[in-house]
Subunit: 402 residues, 2 copies
């Protein structure tokens, strides 16, 4: 993207946070108010508390909006945005939906409520790290890469464990919010959100739905402990860390000479890649495999956790791809009708191709780990996912001596 395009995408995300209150009241609160008003007097009398409940629902949405206004206010200066919201690019309904989904993301990463969910990966990962790299001094020079780093919780946990961690994220909704949380100097549980107000199914009680959650569950600056071994890159994982050439050109893989050089530099630069609820997010999983393999040093580790719920499985859109000429950098053989869906490998097929074609060895593998997803453990919410955990090691290149 050009700088101008980049700025517009950022503005749209920022603007969506700015307009959350209006959106959530219109989509969530107002229809329920209209429905309630439309009931017969008899039915209204059956649920006399309902009007008061809707008033409280509205108040919770407005408190969430206050939280987002603080995010916007802190972000404008940091990202150098136009300070006048009226001049920002207008968010799409997709952008607006995201403002609702982000509350689940905050809950997953930064609330005490979801520590059990986070521990499913953390306990497995730490068991491996404590055995493989127990030495604190060695850890300082071990580089860990986390694509799809979201709101940065896993980065902070691993920096706290002594590693040098780089996160990568492509969504501006995530980037804006992660910067606010990570660099905001918030006291432990200093912020309040109401993440459950957008969901009406699977609720145990209306009081339960409206309860506040305090975040973050830790004092982040203490966890980082003054060590500056944390970074976050913005952009496509494949574009930044993939092989310099050889992947099809697309919106996610640039033919720009500077990007090609950048990717070249990133070859074998990382000891550990951790993909956490990430591997199923792309439109071509082989591109992800090539990228992980490229960025890892020989003998490096790939740790994966999450379900195989391919994000684009039901997407009917197409994307444009092409071949990059290795000498000129020119894009040729453009195909304008490549389906975004497709190539959703099954678990066994994915593991087999990783081992046979991308030179990984299986060190550990576990399937069917039950995990919620920002799930309220005290409620009757949806059960969540069957997650897979694996630890693969990239084979060292063998040299044949004749």
């Amino acid at each position: 993207m050009s700088d101008g395009e980049e700025a517009r995408v950022l503005e749209k995300a920022l603007s969506s946070y700015y307009h959350y209150e209006e959106y959530a009241l219109n989509e969530i609160w107002k229809p329920r108010m209209c429905k309630w008003m439309s009931l017969s007097n008899l039915q209204k009398s059956k649920i006399p508390w309902y009007g008061k409940y809707l008033g409280e629902l509205k108040r919770c949405i407005m408190k969430n909006a206050e939280f987002y206004r603080l995010v916007v206010q802190r972000s404008v200066a940091y990202w150098g945005c136009n300070p006048n919201p009226d001049q920002w690019s207008q968010p799409t309904s997709y952008d607006m939906d995201k403002t609702v989904l982000m509350f689940t993301q905050i809950l997953r990463e930064w609330s005490q409520e979801c520590q059990d969910e986070r521990d499913l990966l953390l306990t497995r990962l730490r068991a491996f790290l404590n055995q493989e790299i127990p030495n604190k001094f060695e850890r300082r020079v071990v580089k860990v890469l986390i694509p799809g780093a979201g709101l940065g919780r896993l980065i902070v946990d691993l920096v706290n464990d002594g590693f040098c961690v780089e996160g990568n994220e492509t969504s501006y909704h995530m980037l804006l919010l992660s910067r606010f949380i990570l660099n905001g100097e918030h006291p432990k549980e200093g912020l309040t959100i109401y993440p459950f107000v957008h969901t009406f199914s699977h609720q145990l009680s209306h009081e339960h739905q409206l309860r506040p959650i305090r975040i973050p569950d830790v004092r982040i600056s203490e966890m980082l402990n003054g060590v500056c071994s944390m970074s976050m890159s913005a952009g496509s994982f494949v574009d930044l860390y993939g092989p310099p050439l050889g992947i099809k050109w697309s919106e996610y893989y640039s033919a720009d000479i500077e990007m090609i050089r950048y990717r070249e530099q990133n070859a074998s630069s990382v000891r550990i890649v951790v993909t956490n609820f990430f591997i199923d997010t792309g439109s071509n999983i082989l591109d992800y495999l090539e990228t992980i393999s490229h960025v890892l040093e020989d003998g490096g580790y790939w740790v994966n956790f999450g379900p195989l719920m391919y994000h684009y499985e039901n997407d009917s859109q197409v994307e444009v791809t092409g071949d990059i000429d290795p000498t000129t950098g020119e894009v040729k053989n453009v195909n304008r009708f490549v389906p975004v869906k497709g190539l959703e490998l099954s678990l066994n097929d994915l593991i087999q191709v990783a081992c046979d074609q991308y030179a990984f060895d299986i060190i550990a593998k576990e399937i069917g780990i039950k995990s919620g997803y920002g799930r309220d453990p005290t409620g009757i919410a949806l059960l969540g996912y069957m997650c897979n955990y694996w630890l693969f090691k990239k084979r060292k290149k063998s040299f044949s001596i004749c």
Copy 2:
């Protein structure tokens, strides 16, 4: 609906089954073929089996289409439809989507694979029935009503247990398929479908995805044992079994004088109502409560099983409602903007309003029962729902003697 409208809705459902092959090939197989073709030669060589897999995927879809063509063929004569498919009303994309979803429904109700899922309700329900109505002769005159009867499995199970069972269903997709299954004289496991070919996420292996399932898991005519104590009504539950007046007029509750009389006749006509994955399917759950209360005799039982996943929670459409004048049957005070979403009561609130306002007593209640939904128990599929079970008894009217 008028007879003409009714016939058109039936034709659209029939036509959707007729066009399944074209639809599934276009939506499922073809994009994956295009995606595969668009890969670089290098990536193609990493998954050399993929082309063959896509060929098998296509073959499975065509086998499914054969199954649906049989359904269509048997249905045309029975329902008295125009025998020329080219003259049928065209299905919407919603109708077409349903043809895919119906394979999950068949799997849930009529495969051995999902017996464990069905047993979650059945074992609880039978424990109660065996205690309350152990006598086989008494059972013959005990009327059980099952709204949202789907493909009729629970009807058959309870008829087999000796009860007189009426199902109710509003979807023509269900009605067409349930008649085909229930009256088709199919041998046990005489039909083959490929229900997993439409889903690419959460698959353990591609062989697993493509495997056949044989249905029905029982010889239905033997289970019914020649007893003709089974019926199925087509239409809205509220319209057919609700109170004669007092619910708001809408697409689902008619002001027609014959319907009002029919509802009058249905008052207190049923000993047991079983709602199985049904209570969350309407746009106004209080209408359901009033209807269940109306159709049950005093001292009758309401058995419920399923999650609280309100089907219209995210629906942004509106419906038209009004008041029915009790003397003239005229519709007045029409409101054209009643949101379909809204009024999604939490579990505790729903139970409280049932007890306090609709005169039910709690006999048994269990929450958080984990259930799949047409889930492949051998795979890594989504976990499913937290279901609630309850058994309520409608209080007998008390007469005060002065």
